[in-house]
C-alpha cells in the first residue's frame, strides 16, 4: 500500500515537473521573440536619422530612400504579426545594404561623422538582431526537443503543444554574394 502510494507520488511529481518545464520552455520561446522585437524596434528607430543624414548627400537615390521610408512606416504599424515584422526587417536590411554600397559614390557622405556613427550603430544592431535570432532558434530547438522526446511528448500531446519553426534566412540570401553582381546592379 505504502509502496503504491510512493510510486503514485513519484509519478505525480515527475508529471508536474515535466508540465512546468514545458510551460517554461514555451514562455521562453515567446520571450525570445519579444527580444527580437525590441531589437527590431531599436533598428527601425535608427532609420529616420539615417535617411535624414544621407538625403543631404545622395541626390540620385530618391527611389531607394522613399522605399526605406515607406518600409519604416509599415514597420511602425502596431497590428503586425511576427512573420510580417520579420519579413519587413528582411526587406529593410536588403535596401539598407544597397544604400551602404551606393555610399561609395558619395565621398562627402563617407566623411560625415554622424553618418559614420549611424553606420556603426546599424552594424551593431545587425549583429544584435543576429544574436537575438540565434537565441530564438535555441529556445525553439529546446522547446521542440522537449515536446517531441519521451516522456515530454505524452504530456505535450495532452497540452496540444505543436513544434514551432526555427527562423531561417531567405533562399536569396543563402547564395554567396557576388561582388561583381553587387557592383553591376
Amino acid at each position: 500500500m505504502i509502496i503504491a502510494l510512493i510510486i503514485i507520488i513519484v509519478i505525480a511529481v515527475i508529471c508536474i515537473s515535466i508540465y512546468n518545464s514545458l510551460i517554461a520552455k514555451k514562455n521562453q520561446t515567446d520571450n525570445a521573440f519579444a527580444a527580437i522585437d525590441v531589437m527590431l524596434k531599436k533598428r527601425f528607430d535608427l532609420l529616420p536619422n539615417l535617411v535624414e543624414t544621407v538625403k543631404k548627400y545622395m541626390q540620385y537615390e530618391g527611389d531607394l530612400l522613399t522605399k526605406i521610408v515607406s518600409l519604416r512606416s509599415r514597420a511602425s504599424n502596431p497590428g503586425l504579426s511576427n512573420e510580417e515584422k520579420l519579413s519587413i526587417d528582411q526587406e529593410l536590411s536588403r535596401e539598407v545594404k544597397g544604400l551602404m554600397v551606393n555610399v561609395e559614390n558619395y565621398p562627402n557622405l563617407k566623411a560625415d561623422q554622424s553618418f559614420l556613427n549611424l553606420q556603426n550603430t546599424w552594424t551593431e544592431s545587425e549583429e544584435q538582431i543576429a544574436a537575438a535570432r540565434r537565441n530564438y532558434n535555441a529556445a525553439i530547438t529546446d522547446y521542440n526537443n522537449a515536446i517531441m522526446m519521451f516522456p515530454g511528448s505524452i504530456i505535450a500531446g495532452m497540452m496540444n503543444y505543436t513544434p514551432k519553426t526555427v527562423l531561417s534566412i531567405p533562399e536569396t540570401e543563402r547564395n554567396n554574394i557576388s561582388a561583381k553582381d553587387l557592383f553591376n546592379s
Partner: protein, 318 residues
C-alpha cells in the same frame, strides 16, 4: 630571430654585463654552498668522536654558509630584475615597440577574482611580470599568476590543512571590440556538466544554477561550457566566427583555456607550468636559446588579438 646575435650593440653590452655578474654570483653561490656542505661531515665526525671543537667548527661552517647565501640573495634578486628590465624589456620590443614589462607588477587579486573565471578565492596568491602594450587599436596586458586555496579537514588528531592549485599560468586581459553590460564565462567542459545541465533545465528543483548557453558550433560545445547572465548578449559576443577563433586558439594551447567577458574586457586564462622571464644562474646567458621560450610566449599571446580579430572595431566602439 630570437637568437642573441640579432640583438643591437647596446643590448649586447647589457647582456655581456649581465653574464659577468651571473658568473660572479654563481662563483659566490658555489663557495657558500661548499662551506655549508663541508660543515655537515665535519659536525658528523665531531659527534662520532664526541670532540666538541670539531662539532663547533662543523656547525659554524654550516651556518656561515647558510648566512652567506641569504646575504647574497639580494644581489641575485637584483641580477634577475636587471635581466627582465634591461634584457627582456628590449627583446620584446622586437615583437612590437609598444610592449613593456613590469616585473614587480602583476594581476591584482581583485582582478583575478573579478574575472569570474575561478569559483574559489585564493588563499595564497602571487602574480608578477606584467607585459602590456597595444596591438593596433587593442590595449592588452598579461601576467604570470599562481594561486592556491586551502582545504581544512577535521580529523581525530585535529584540523588538517591541504593546499590545492587553483591556477598556474598566464592571464591575458584586453579591451574587447564590442560593448556589453552582462557577464559571460566560457569554461572548459567538465566531466558530468551535460548531466548537470539536463537537470538544471528539465527539473524546476535544480533551476537556480547559472544559466547555461547552448551554442551552435559543435566543436565549441564539445570543448567548452558557456554560462551567461544574458543569453542574447552572450551570442552577440560569441558569434559563429568568434567561436571558431576560440577553438583555433584552444588547439594551439596544451591545456584548455578559459575565457570571461566582464565590463567590456575579455580575460583569457592560459594554464602553463613553466615560470617565464627568469634569468638562469647556473647556465650561461650567451646561448642562442636564452629567451626563445619567453619570446614565444609573448608572440603567442600577442597573436591572440589577431586570432580573435579584436582590432575590427565596427560595432560602435573605438
Amino acid at each position: 630571430m630570437d637568437s642573441i646575435s640579432h640583438l643591437d650593440p647596446a643590448t649586447m653590452e647589457v647582456l655581456t654585463a649581465l653574464e659577468a655578474s651571473r658568473i660572479s654570483l654563481r662563483k659566490k653561490r658555489v663557495i657558500h654552498l661548499a662551506i655549508c656542505f663541508t660543515g655537515i661531515p665535519i659536525a658528523i665526525i665531531g659527534f662520532t668522536f664526541t670532540t666538541l671543537p670539531v662539532i663547533a667548527i662543523g656547525i659554524i661552517c654550516f651556518f656561515a654558509g647558510l648566512i652567506s647565501i641569504s646575504v647574497n640573495l639580494g644581489a641575485v634578486d637584483q641580477y634577475r630584475l636587471d635581466f627582465k628590465q634591461k634584457l627582456i624589456a628590449q627583446a620584446i620590443k622586437m615583437i612590437d615597440q609598444s610592449l613593456e614589462i613590469d616585473p614587480k607588477r602583476g594581476l591584482s587579486q581583485d582582478e583575478f577574482f573579478g574575472s569570474l573565471l575561478f569559483k574559489k578565492k585564493p588563499d595564497k596568491y602571487m602574480s608578477e611580470d606584467r607585459v602590456s602594450g597595444n596591438a593596433g587599436k587593442t590595449k592588452f596586458s598579461f601576467s604570470e599568476v599562481q594561486a592556491q586555496y586551502k582545504e581544512l579537514t577535521i580529523t581525530k588528531k585535529g584540523t588538517q590543512e591541504t593546499w590545492h592549485e587553483l591556477f598556474c599560468g598566464v592571464i591575458f586581459k584586453a579591451d574587447f571590440n564590442k560593448n556589453f553590460k552582462e557577464l559571460t564565462v566560457v569554461q572548459p567542459k567538465a566531466f558530468g556538466s551535460d548531466v548537470a545541465e539536463w537537470f538544471g533545465s528539465n527539473t524546476p528543483f535544480f533551476s537556480g544554477a547559472k544559466e547555461r548557453v547552448r551554442l551552435e558550433n559543435p566543436e565549441f560545445e564539445k570543448n567548452f561550457a558557456t554560462y551567461s547572465s544574458d543569453q542574447i548578449e552572450s551570442r552577440y559576443i560569441l558569434t559563429p566566427l568568434m567561436m571558431e577563433s576560440i577553438c583555433r586558439l584552444n588547439d594551439r594551447c596544451k591545456d584548455s583555456i578559459s575565457l570571461s567577458f566582464v565590463g567590456n574586457i575579455i580575460t583569457i586564462a592560459f594554464p602553463l607550468t613553466r615560470n617565464y622571464f627568469e634569468a638562469p644562474l647556473f647556465e650561461s646567458l650567451m646561448t642562442d636559446d636564452l629567451m626563445k621560450e619567453d619570446l614565444n610566449l609573448v608572440r603567442h599571446i600577442y597573436q591572440v588579438i589577431e586570432t580573435l580579430d579584436l582590432n575590427t572595431r565596427i560595432w560602435g566602439k573605438d
